[in-house]
């Protein structure tokens, strides 16, 4: 509900997001081959990927800094939140899910309509791929939340998380596959990047939707999501012992 008050402001941001999309579309139209027997990233594929990246990123990548955890740490509210009978990690996830539902409705949907009216919204490769793309996108959102949760909870050790956030954001921009396919990155990075958790945020949901990926990639996302869950629970347990209420 807190987001609804700013929906017009967010609509303006959607226009900015669309401009980012048009910039990357123009870039890929300028460099990608029109057709190719060897390069899977042709001009039309890249335009589709850029459009979907802008639409999907609002539920998988563009999350609030540290999921707002650092604010609770600074104000001392985290002590009350951790004292509640609900485990802290699922509680933060539940709160953020509401925010993502808002973003899907007021950010992703208007952007999808805007792209549909301009460059066109890509269709899923098949009904089967659309069905697979839904859990893939949900896993992408979950992966994004766990990564940003890690950044947020790190405030218990560092207080200031601005750096951790910007580092995460830059690395995610490069490796999530929303703006450049991770497998065309140069050298060893291009060989490793497709298997990192960042690829699950955008690259695999988009590739599955377009019919260029399937069950194998979805399982990789699920494996990373399971690992991230264990990591976040372990980190939360450690964090509980670090809670120091600031102020008086």
């Amino acid at each position: 509900m807190r987001n609804v008050a700013y929906k017009w402001s967010h609509m303006l941001n959607n226009v900015a997001s669309a401009i980012f999309g048009f910039i990357y579309i123009a870039l890929w139209q300028a460099v990608a081959p029109a057709t190719s027997a060897t390069d899977p990233y042709t001009r039309s594929t890249m335009v589709s990927m850029m459009v979907l990246a802008q639409v999907f990123a609002w539920v998988t990548t563009f999350l609030p800094i540290g999921l707002g955890i650092q604010n609770g740490i600074r104000s001392g509210a985290i002590a009350l939140e951790m004292a509640r009978p609900i485990p802290y990690f699922p509680m933060v996830l539940a709160r953020e899910t509401g925010n993502l539902a808002y973003q899907a409705l007021y950010r992703s949907l208007p952007l999808a309509l805007l792209f549909a009216a301009t460059v066109g919204l890509p269709r899923p490769a098949s009904a089967g791929h659309l069905l697979l793309a839904v859990p893939s996108l949900l896993l992408g959102a979950y992966m994004g939340m766990t990564l940003v949760y890690t950044v947020g909870i790190s405030a218990l050790w560092t207080t200031e998380i601005r750096w951790a956030h910007w580092t995460y954001y830059s690395v995610s921009t490069l490796l999530s596959g929303g703006w450049i396919p991770p497998d065309i990155l140069p050298g060893w990075l291009g060989r490793v990047a497709p298997y990192l958790p960042f690829s699950g945020q955008l690259f695999y949901p988009i590739r599955i939707y377009l019919g260029a990926a399937g069950w194998r990639e979805l399982l990789l996302q699920a494996a990373w999501a399971a690992a991230a869950t264990l990591w976040c629970h372990w980190l939360t347990g450690r964090a509980l012992r670090r809670v120091v209420v600031q102020g008086g």
């Binding site: 402001s9 900015a16 997001s17 401009i19 980012f20 910039i23 460099v31 921009t173 703006w179 140069p186």
Partner: protein, 257 residues
């Protein structure tokens, strides 16, 4: 101006009290902005050119944009965070002082760590200049451009901040009016549709910083008069946005406490 420089020196001294924080902040800003260029570099590594510009030419273009932006963020970081002043009513404090509000705002926080972003852009520019085999005059010219570019970008931030006097919430407007154009400033403008090119040459003139002068300097068309464009754009945009700021200031209504 004397007051501004005195406040600036005090801000710089206070920042340098924390030397370790200064070093870490500077390095991290440089690294993070370098990662941003990696996306462009990776695309050029595979495709060799974009819109007829090779990797060295694009590095020069990006370097001018990044160093200009980094330079402004060192001196004008509070302008970029102006929404907070409007929402919390903090701007009231500036109005009670006997000095111009903008000078007070600019001198409040000297974000010396942003020098890392400036240096990253500057190094990128040097790599580009070396890669294109630039003549001496182009080296000298490019050293001066970030000063004008910093004023153009600062004017965009100031225009957004001024809009805040009417609409209060401006962070999203900043994404539209500054962040998106800055992303476009890293690429040759001929790859963009006509409407975007017009936007980046007029209302949001980021193409004036690097693209217009480099187009001629690198033999890609344009006119030698293009070399004057960054400085003319800086003078015009500063004049217009200062007026906008003063006009907006008269319409300011405190959010109360």
């Amino acid at each position: 101006m004397q007051l501004y420089f005195r406040l600036l020196a005090a801000g710089l001294r206070s920042r340098l009290q924390y030397k370790f924080d200064f070093v870490v902040t500077t390095v991290l800003y440089g690294v993070i902005t370098a990662v941003d260029f990696l996306t462009v570099a990776a695309i050029l590594f595979k495709y060799k050119q974009v819109g007829g510009w090779n990797v060295h030419e694009v590095a020069l273009l990006s370097g001018l944009a990044s160093s200009s932006n980094g330079l402004f963020r060192v001196f004008g970081s509070e302008v970029t965070l102006f929404e907070r002043y409007l929402v919390t009513g903090e701007f009231d404090n500036l109005l009670t002082r006997p000095w111009p509000t903008l000078a007070m705002l600019l001198s409040r926080n000297f974000d010396i760590g942003r020098i890392g972003a400036f240096l990253q852009g500057f190094v990128l520019m040097l790599v580009g200049l070396r890669g294109v085999g630039a003549p001496w005059w182009l080296w000298a010219y490019c050293f001066a451009v970030p000063l004008a570019g910093c004023l153009v970008i600062g004017s965009l931030y100031l225009a957004v901040a001024s809009a805040g006097f009417w609409i209060t919430r401006i962070d999203e407007l900043q994404t539209f009016a500054v962040n998106a154009p800055m992303a476009a400033a890293m690429y040759p403008q001929e790859i963009f549709p006509r409407a975007l090119r017009w936007l980046f040459l007029s209302l949001l003139p980021i193409a004036a910083i690097g693209y217009v002068p480099l187009q001629w300097a690198l033999g890609k068309g344009g006119s030698p008069l293009g070399l004057l464009v960054p400085f003319v754009a800086a003078a015009l945009s500063v004049t217009v946005t200062l007026r906008l700021w003063r006009w907006g200031e008269r319409h300011y209504q405190s959010s109360g406490s």
